[in-house]
């Protein structure tokens, strides 16, 4: 009886604000030079609070969400992908990279106008492609100063002082490089403020995701994509930190009032890796069966920072401010920032799929899931690494798993009809009927 409305539902009150913040971000970046400011480019995973010490007129363009925006527009995406291929870049490389490069080659910004060339690149290397992504950007743009940090010190459960030292050392070098490259004097107070904002943003996002443990879930994953994206754009920004607190309050209220994301929730699922951005309608298709995706390690752990709570559950990591730590200087800020970021759940799986499987099993149990959807994502080797072992581990733990192959950013590699047929079969194995029909 998937069509039976069991729960009341309501649109999110802060939805419009989320959309406005996102658009403003892309406009700010494009107009930075008109305002006498600086533009930098780098990944959503980068230590984005650090360039904030250059001034309040510094705007960024984070690469993955920008490329996802391109992928959402299938026609523009196809032109970008073909432009990258024509320029001799292999078709099986990261789809985000190829969309991004195509946008430069075509000199078309997804939000209107020509592609705004960054003044410098501020990146970190998390997979085989991240640092090299911007080598090509620099090639295509005729040379851009490029600083990149290595974060591959091993999983957080093996953290040691020399690992933090390695990161912090690179951060200090990066700040010197920023000063040399831009000719600006670095302001530690601005750094400390940005780092504190990021602690708030990333902890609050984890808290928001925790509310989805509730049945019925107050948020569905398709909607979460439009909310978590702010953390991938500007996690160090005061407005984002404040928006997430507003969102947290609203989600808490939805739980207290029993407001559900979908009215007919009867099956709780999670996905894995980035979705095929041009085909988000598959999430709505699932809802026809009364199935909701409550999130994923990706939506929870790319931006959210988590910790074990005293009751054994997974919850938002207490920020240094909540722990009563007073951040006084640059080195202290960088050390706390390095330690905080290295605990990011979505970084752990780079070292071992078994760590990821453990986290996924934990989510499946605490969020009371009935099944798991694994997107074997040809577009991202970084998040698909070890995914086959995740499948085996989840099955061994007793969870029904559906794997489907696709690509987050290359629509040519996603067969929508075939995936829907797989959904039909999977839902049937879970005992669900479409729209309540037998």
């Amino acid at each position: 009886m998937a069509d039976k409305a069991k729960y009341k539902t309501a649109p999110l009150k802060c939805w419009k604000k989320a959309k406005e913040l996102r658009l403003k971000y892309y406009e700010d970046y494009a107009k930075a030079h008109e305002r006498g400011g600086l533009r930098w480019a780098g990944g959503a995973w980068s230590f984005s609070a650090i360039p904030s010490g250059l001034g309040e007129d510094v705007w960024s363009l984070t690469s993955e969400p920008y490329a996802a925006s391109i992928a959402f527009d299938k026609d523009f995406s196809l032109r970008c992908l073909e432009a990258a291929e024509k320029a001799s870049y292999a078709r099986d490389l990261c789809a985000y990279m190829r969309n991004y490069w195509g946008s430069i080659i075509l000199n078309e910004y997804a939000f209107g106008g020509p592609f705004p060339k960054p003044d410098f690149i501020w990146q970190d290397h998390i997979c085989c492609s991240h640092a090299k992504w911007y080598q090509v950007v620099s090639d295509l743009e005729g040379g851009i100063p490029h600083f990149c940090m290595d974060v591959s010190v091993g999983p957080y459960n093996e953290m040691a002082p020399h690992k933090i030292d390695y990161l912090v050392g690179q951060m200090h070098d990066g700040i010197e490089w920023l000063e040399e490259t831009t000719g600006r004097i670095y302001d530690d107070d601005l750094l400390i403020e940005a780092v504190k904002n990021e602690f708030r943003t990333t902890s609050t996002w984890a808290e928001i995701c925790s509310y989805n443990k509730h049945v019925p879930a107050p948020l569905d994953e398709k909607s979460m994509y439009s909310l978590y994206v702010l953390g991938t754009l500007n996690k160090h920004d005061r407005q984002v930190a404040e928006f997430y607190q507003e969102l947290r309050d609203e989600v808490k209220e939805r739980v207290e009032q029993g407001i559900a994301a979908i009215p007919n929730e009867q099956c709780r699922l999670m996905s894995d890796t980035q979705p095929p951005w041009g085909f988000l309608s598959i999430f709505r298709y699932m809802e026809e069966f009364g199935a909701i995706s409550i999130g994923s390690l990706y939506t929870f752990g790319l931006i959210g920072i988590w910790e074990d709570k005293p009751d054994g559950s997974w919850g938002p990591r207490a920020t240094p401010m909540q722990q009563g730590i007073d951040i006084k200087d640059r080195d202290q800020a960088l050390r706390l920032y390095a330690d905080w970021t290295l605990s990011k759940p979505e970084w752990q799986h780079f070292y071992s799929p078994h760590l990821k499987t453990e986290m996924m099993i934990r989510i499946a149990r605490e969020w009371q899931l009935n099944g798991i959807l694994l997107h074997y994502n040809r577009g991202c080797e970084g998040l698909s690494v070890g995914i086959a072992e995740n499948r085996l581990g989840l099955i061994e733990a007793g969870f029904p798993v559906m794997a489907f192959e696709g690509n987050m950013g290359d629509e040519r590699e996603f067969d929508e009809a075939r995936v829907k047929v797989r959904f039909d079969t999977f839902m049937e194995t879970l005992g669900l009927k479409k729209n309540g029909k037998s």
Partner: protein, 384 residues
Amino acid sequence: MASQAVLDQETFETFRNWRLNRAQYAKEWKQRTGGRVMGYFCTYAPEELMYAAGILPVRILGSHEVQDVTEPHIFAMFCPFCRDCLAQGLKGRFDYLDGIMIAQSCLHIRQTFTSWQKHIPIDYSYYLPMPHHVQSRRATPFLTKELEVFKDSLEKWLGKTIDERAIDDAIEVYNRNRRLLWRVYELRKGDRPPLTGEEAMEVVLSSQMVDKQDHNAALEGLLAQLSKREPARPTGTRLMILGSENDDMEFIRMVESFDATFVIDDHCTGTRYFWNDVELDGNRLHNIADRYVKRVPCPTKDWPERTRVRHVLELAEAYGVQGAIVIQQKFCDPHELDIPALTRALNNAGIKTLFLEFDVTVPIGQFKVRVEAFLEMLQEDDLF
């Protein structure tokens, strides 16, 4: 010609036997020495430290046979090499290993390690977070600390201390091997190289499978013979081969069946494995760390500058390269990311390139046609 053929066979027989019978060698080595054998997955593995502990480090390579055992473990969009290596483990072909370790490099081969850890019973496994930012002054101090942790782990496993003297001896043995290999490669600079690309590959691949002291002795003998050796065939077009991991002897043999010789390579299975020494100056772990940080990099560590492009051009010039075959293991992102820049640089230096994508097995017939056409193009250049 007949006597030359016999000499060829004898000259390289030892190396070829070691490569083909690596399991037998390792088992006999264990019996002979009572030591343990460690399989490693990437040439960033600090072999000196393992050797100093009385361990035989051996590189885990594939078999170039089609297999059907890795599909449940590694998504098919990852490189065929990493799947081929895992297949060897799943089929029990490395049942003589006492441990496995990986020095962090690409995500592809990392999956071989983690799946091996999970599904193939083994006494010891170790993940070494080899830094990627090797152009940073922070990399060597970080790796030095990581080597201390690795050393502690090995000592705990073996129940013995790895002393300074043993580390010095291991460095000496390894540096000697590198210098001997380098001397063999130096001979390839000549107008008439006394060994083919296939023979050079035989020599350098076997060095990754056997005790370096045995290999050093064989290399001494080889060098003595090579100095007197008259090549049995004309050199023809001087080629370079570069790109991803490559131990495809059949392909090399096919290319050299034409009027062409590979005179140099840039592979992790070739020059990148041995090109740099450990320089002794103070703390030995620091020296070892420095060697691995400063070696010719894998593309996954070659950033923000692409230093390998310069290195490849220098090799091409020093070895009188006339054409380059750029190969890539299918789906190998790090190399795919460098190939456009490398190709441009080689072409700008007047060196034409042929790009080929490798899988576990290569379509030798199709590649033969493409290679022949490429060589004809290069030879026409000579003519006109």
